[in-house]
């Protein structure tokens, strides 16, 4: 070993802090090395010189001043806490601060991750839904979930319950269906075949076209609808600004004869890159049959009222019957209108189309904006979390402090 190594041991040797093995090795070296011996001599004399320094006498007033300035201890909870914190050495609070920062970092990263994973899972949900709808279209019998303004789910359930019976053929002569009692008249007379089922079909198509091609695609789309004997209920072209670029989009709702719906969808899908294609089918057979039966009942009632009117003796009776008759006729009118709406929605499927420019709908998936947004969201979530948990934490902290105080009192006692 070189002198360098031994020299580094000398300091500890002088202090008597060298482990026995090192000490032995060093002493052997010192026996042969004058250079290290000289260093040892110097170190030892330095230490001894400092050791033998006389102590300085403190000023006479020190003791008295200390005792005079002795203040009663601050007893407050926060004074104690602050005192304890200020009494921490860097070695104590550096890990504490580091731990706190690590926790915050963990929450940020976790929040960001959570945000991202949340996004991707919602995407899966969406595609799953689309698959579902495609299945519904294939069987043509699946009842769709209630849409706003549509008959309630119980009506759809009845529809589903009736379907197998209708399929089983014309042997069902029994009166009641799942509908109201009045409908027995119609249902008993005519059991519906599959072909007679009233199905309302809807479709949604979203497509992306190249930049600047929205107008042309819109014209083509309207052309396709017309070629399939449909018509456009409403349409709109919107120019919106996204960032620096202008983006155009086209939206329309069209009605197309049901038998041409699939052909129309195919045509529209060919306009550009299809980003979404949903179709749904809703079975309204039962509502339809029910309405039909009630309509016939009302028409019978009208006939009877007409007969009664012919037999009326007094003006009073006549007026009474006429009032009744006009009420019944009003009902009949509204039922017929409803019937027509049903017929129309069965005959003409509703088709909505959304055409957007390429790149207008989706951002680059990993842009910094998204990352920043995720970060902001994570912090927002964290703040919300802190705000929500604060009352609980205050209570818990109070309990913890109380317990700590009791324990300390017990220990010092």
């Amino acid at each position: 070993m070189s002198c360098q190594v031994y020299e580094e041991m000398l300091s500890a040797y002088v202090d008597g802090e060298l482990p026995p093995l090192d000490r032995q090795a060093l002493e052997e070296h010192l026996a042969t090395c004058d250079t290290c011996g000289q260093v040892l001599l110097e170190l030892r004399s330095m230490k001894m010189a400092l050791q033998s320094l006389p102590e300085v006498e403190p000023p006479a007033g020190l003791h008295a001043t200390i005792m005079r300035n002795l203040k009663p201890r601050s007893q407050g909870l926060f004074a104690g806490l602050a005192g304890r914190l200020s009494g921490w050495t860097p070695r104590q609070w550096v890990p504490a601060v580091a731990a706190a920062m690590a926790f915050v970092l963990f929450l940020s990263v976790g929040g960001t991750y959570w945000y991202w994973s949340g996004r991707s899972s919602s995407g899966n949900l969406l595609s799953g839904m689309t698959k579902d709808q495609a299945a519904g279209q294939k069987t043509n019998l699946t009842t769709r979930g209630a849409q706003p303004g549509e008959p309630s789910s119980s009506a759809q359930f009845e529809g589903a319950a009736t379907a197998p019976r209708a399929k089983s053929g014309g042997d069902a002569g029994s009166g009641g269906t799942a509908g109201s009692g009045v409908s027995g008249l119609a249902a008993g007379g005519a059991v519906l075949q599959d072909a007679d089922r009233k199905i309302v079909r809807r479709a949604q198509v979203a497509a992306e076209v190249r930049r600047g091609g929205v107008k042309q695609a819109a014209d083509e789309a309207i052309g396709i609808v017309k070629a399939n004997f449909g018509y456009v209920e409403s349409s709109s072209i919107v120019q919106s600004e996204q960032g620096q670029k202008e983006a155009a989009s086209f939206y329309m709702v069209a009605r197309v004869p049901e038998e041409n719906l699939d052909k129309t969808i195919e045509g529209l899908a060919a306009l550009g890159r299809t980003t979404r294609q949903d179709t749904s089918a809703q079975d309204i057979t039962d509502q339809y049959v029910d309405l039909d039966a009630r309509l016939r009942n009302k028409e019978n009632e009208e006939q009877r009222l007409l007969q009664i009117m012919g037999q009326a003796k007094t003006v009073g009776e006549l007026l009474q019957v006429e009032g009744e008759l006009s009420r019944v006729r009003g009902d009949i009118e509204s039922m017929k209108a409803q019937m027509q709406r049903y017929d129309k929605s069965v005959a003409l499927s509703s088709l909505s189309l959304n055409i957007t420019e390429e790149g207008a709908t989706k951002r680059p998936p990993s842009s910094w904006h998204d990352v920043w947004q995720a970060f902001v969201n994570a912090w927002r979530a964290l703040l919300l979390f802190v705000a929500k948990i604060a009352p609980t934490m205050i209570v818990l902290a109070a309990i913890a402090v109380a317990v700590a105080l009791v324990l300390r009192k017990r220990r010092t006692a």
Binding site: C3, Q4, E7, E8, L10, S11, A12, D15, E17, D34, T35, C36, G37, Q38, V39, L41, E42, L43, S45, M46, K47, A49, L50, Q51, S52, L53, E55, V56, E57, P58, P59, G61, L62, H63, T65, I66, M67, N69, L70, K71, P72, R73, S74, G83, R84, G87, T89, P90, R91, T412
Partner: protein, 206 residues
């Protein structure tokens, strides 16, 4: 000198507010605390202030002294921290008064030496080795000064120094080695003249 168990009793009483018990502790440690502070900051008035501060702080903090280290270690830790804080504050203030004709670092130090032992010039020639080492220490960084003072003047073991400074043993060992080498090289060679075992006076192997 009080026995250890007596000291424990005093600490217990003092932590419950017994001023007389605390006074006994002050009597026992004020000299040591004052000396350490004085060696660290090299100014009598400042050392006095620091010593006061140390004991007042200690009195406030005594209930939290858990006895997992010795009381002397604990109070010297408070003293070292207070002294280093004081030096930092002074350094900051000195940097604010840069345009003053006399550099802050030299004036009080010089005066201190004069107070004790005449001028700087003859202190190097005629003073004891201990005085010369002290003079060199004053020019070192506080962290080097403090570790040499604790080890040599106070005679603490490495473990105790580690407790006082909040360092680990290895750091104490290596820092002491480095600090001592600094002092050794800054000392005028004449100080070791009488010690030299080599006729050519070569004394600094590397």
């Amino acid at each position: 000198m009080l026995a250890l168990s007596d000291e424990e009793g005093l600490i217990n009483k003092a932590s419950k507010g017994d001023a007389a018990a605390f006074e006994a502790l002050v009597t026992k440690y004020d000299k040591g605390v004052y000396n350490l502070a004085f060696r660290l900051v090299s100014d009598r008035d400042d050392a006095m202030d620091i010593a006061q501060e140390v004991f007042l702080k200690a009195y406030q903090a005594l209930p939290r002294f858990r006895g997992d280290s010795r009381f002397s270690t604990w109070i010297y830790r408070v003293c070292v921290n207070a002294s280093l804080d004081h030096l930092r504050r002074k350094q900051k203030m000195a940097s604010y008064s840069l345009d003053e004709p006399l550099s802050f670092k030299e004036s009080p130090v010089t005066r201190e030496i004069e107070d004790e032992s005449g001028s700087v010039e003859d202190s190097v020639e005629t003073k004891s080795l201990g005085q010369a080492v002290l003079a060199v220490l004053r020019d070192l960084e506080p962290q080097h000064r403090v570790i040499i003072l604790l080890s040599d003047v106070k005679g603490y073991s490495y473990q105790e120094i580690a407790d006082i400074l909040g360092l680990c043993m290895g750091t104490v060992k290596s820092r002491l080695h480095r600090s001592r080498n600094m002092v050794r090289k800054l000392l005028p060679p004449e100080q070791f003249g009488t010690l030299s075992v080599k006729p050519d006076g070569r004394r600094d192997p590397r």
